[in-house]
Symmetry: C2
């Protein structure tokens, strides 16, 4: 009798698990079919990018995009939609130009972009000799007298050897972020950096820089494209080159703005699952991959749960965060508010790596939860989602980590992202409908699993 | 003593395997670094697509491309380069136009492409009423009298629910291939098919059709874009629509042409490993993804083995096959010749799925060999190559299957391919440098493993 029990139990359990897996796998397919056939994410991205375009937080366009988000969340069937107040920095680019010339040459314009949050030249020409360094080590070897009164040019290239381009971006990131303060403290007039780009074109990339707290100089920082950078380095090896920078960019205090939130109410309890992206973008291009994609994917998930009548246990909440690009104020405010209001959150996922074919989900959570998510891997494999190894989460949801909330980020294929990231080329045309929707599929499927399991 | 031996052996073997894996992993990285940093595949693709452009076999452009391939193989360091003779069909598109009108309406042009290998109207207007069917089942229900003298419009759409788009392509493929003979045999004047496209635009896709052996009618077959197809179906639901087709396309016999072959000689023996793609393309666009990508990736592998001084045991041979698109004559001839010359081949791999980020390797080989390749999976994972489950090989190397040669095909991400496949949009601009090179990396790494193991 005992022997029989032992034999039956695993069979019974196996049968249960098999039936369970089969039901999950059918639900995965329902979500996928609905999005790939009837998904509205791509058309929503078209109206966001083409009717509104880029939308730096603090701008009029950003405020327009909050109205757009409210409308799209309502259309998707949200039970409740609201705006969450948040103070954001107001940075304005204004006019900008950079010219270079050799000793006896003529001024030649270079394609450039002031870095976000940078101060400008207040509309005056700032002229100086360019001093070239390859990297921080070379810069550190320069004495103050070698830097003083000069414009320092950092030509640190994206390391093409990284397979995941985000790692190359991380590797080169400090030059955009910090070079101005390094050089300012040694008396430089401005810095020019090589764009953080995986491409070999001449497109300049903007992006956030910051001044060190003890940096009182706040010198201007601008980026040039890879081609211009290579040519400039080459010229500087044989002769002196001078630069003339003129820019109006400046920080203009703060302003009241909003994140946009929509949700479908939980059927079992009111604890919250967040899915989101950031609604703001840099002030060039159309903010299509960064991060229009994450916004329309998140709305797509809400629409699909509603349309399929999936009875979610917990509240599923779409958060369109304000001000990721130059302050992360939306993300910080959201975490602050849920703590203040004592709102229980069981999970948050963000999509902010572009609307490219998804390949995995990055996880920031306890080892136990991590293992549990990884145990669902076979359900995801038919959708091309194979990598659950990365450990990072989107900047907007990161502030929730200290509250002990399990976090995740969609991991799209990374090869094309840093060709267009923070540039004029980040447009709707660069987004593929199916790739975009498959990102929503993967996140929707994960939310379905989390909702029924946690 | 026995116990000790048993314990030591696995330890020793484990250490050996670990050292071996480490050496392989270092070689994988050398191949990857060399290609991503110094790779010439992208610039080679630029000259192939921009200086020569599309190159249907039998055309002058195709012959130019064979000279280009000879030169590029020499530049890459091939020990030996030659052209292999092959007779190819000569199909010419000529002029083509399709107009439609409702009963009392005016003629309106539709964007269209004659299907490859199709006969035309010999330059005369062929007018008839359009009869719409959704699929083959609906067509089979039509009587001869309902089809006779009409132009049949098959509007079978790409099934968006497939995750791997090649499966949707396979599902819809028979309409392009066979609809003309189905309809011709029932007395139709021509067929219009909806393009095999994953996009929702209005771009027509060409591609090979064929007439059944018992089809003496050989009626013209043309493709229209998805948008036109949807609009036409909509109109046909409420009123009669007439079409006027005029086209000159026709098959003009055969012609002597060439595949192009280059190799680096084996250091241990002369048995051959083939890596290739097809040099011909359809006569629209630039044949960039299909299959310029496969050609330049294959040449890249030869260049990299030579540059890194990898001592290949076996001969590594790049084959740029002629006439894949409308005859597969190059592939058939190659298999015929190696059999005739009794040339031992141990492996062949093709890239003909576009120059997109690689995700896996499809395998056609014995279960034992298959398992062996799959046992190398961990070496490939850092490069994003995770899927070794598919069982298919490129059309050009398929004829080698009956010779018992293990075959493989690169599996790139499939989401964007069928938006542009066989269209004017298959241009260099649609190819990303890193994605293209990563395909070469994966194939180069696999060839390294096969070369040392088989």
């Amino acid at each position: 009798m005992k022997l029989m029990l032992i034999k039956i139990l695993p069979l019974f359990l196996g049968g249960f698990l098999f039936a369970q897996t089969k039901a999950d796998s059918l639900q995965f397919k329902r979500i996928s079919d609905e999005m790939l056939v009837n998904g509205t994410a791509y058309e929503n991205l078209r109206t966001l990018t083409k009717n509104i375009g880029h939308r730096l937080s603090g701008s009029e366009a950003y405020e327009k995009s909050t109205d757009w988000a409210v409308q799209k969340l309502k259309e998707a069937g949200a039970d409740k939609v609201w705006k969450e107040e948040v103070m954001v920095p107001v940075w304005e680019r204004g006019k900008q130009s950079l010219h270079i010339k050799t000793q006896n040459g003529k001024w030649k314009p270079l394609r450039m972009l002031s870095l976000g949050n940078s101060e400008g030249t207040k509309g005056k020409d700032v002229e100086a000799e360019i001093i070239f360094v390859k990297n921080k080590t070379e810069f550190n070897q320069l004495s103050e007298s070698q830097v003083k009164g000069k414009i320092i040019f950092f030509n640190y290239a994206f390391d093409q050897r990284f397979i995941v381009t985000g790692q190359a971006y991380g590797d080169a990131g400090m030059y955009r972020r910090s070079a101005a303060s390094w050089a300012g403290k040694k008396g430089a007039k401005a810095v020019i950096i090589r764009s953080l780009s995986s491409a070999f074109d001449d497109v300049p990339h903007t992006g956030a820089m910051r001044y060190d707290k003890d940096d009182t100089t706040k010198i201007p920082a601008v980026a040039i494209g890879p081609k211009s950078a290579d040519e400039l380095e080459k010229t500087l090896k044989t002769q002196k080159v001078f630069a003339k920078l003129n820019s109006n960019c400046t920080m203009k205090g703060e302003k009241l703005s909003h994140s946009v939130i929509g949700e479908i109410t939980g059927n079992k309890d009111q604890s919250v699952i967040v899915v989101g992206g950031h609604l703001d973008s840099w002030d060039v291009g159309e903010g299509a991959h960064d991060d229009g994609a994450g916004i329309v994917q998140s709305i797509e998930i809400l629409r699909t749960f509603k349309k399929l009548g999936i009875k979610n246990n917990h509240t599923i909440r779409v958060v369109c965060f304000a001000n990721e690009e130059n302050g992360v104020r939306g993300g910080n405010k959201y975490a602050e508010n849920i703590q203040k209001n004592n709102e229980k959150h069981i999970f948050a996922i963000e999509s902010d790596g572009g609307g490219f074919t998804p390949r995995g989900i990055a996880l920031v959570m306890s080892p136990e939860k991590r293992k549990e998510v990884q145990s669902w891997r076979n359900l995801f494999l038919p959708y091309g989602i194979h990598n659950f190894e990365f450990q990072y989460a989107g900047a907007d949801i990161e502030p929730m980590e200290k509250l002990g909330i399990p976090l995740a980020e969609l991991v799209p294929d990374s090869q094309r992202y840093f060709d267009i990231h923070h540039t004029e080329e980040d447009t709707f045309e660069k987004v593929n409908r199916r790739e975009l929707l498959l990102g929503a599929v993967a996140m929707g499927q994960l939310i379905y699993m989390v909702d029924k399991s946690w």
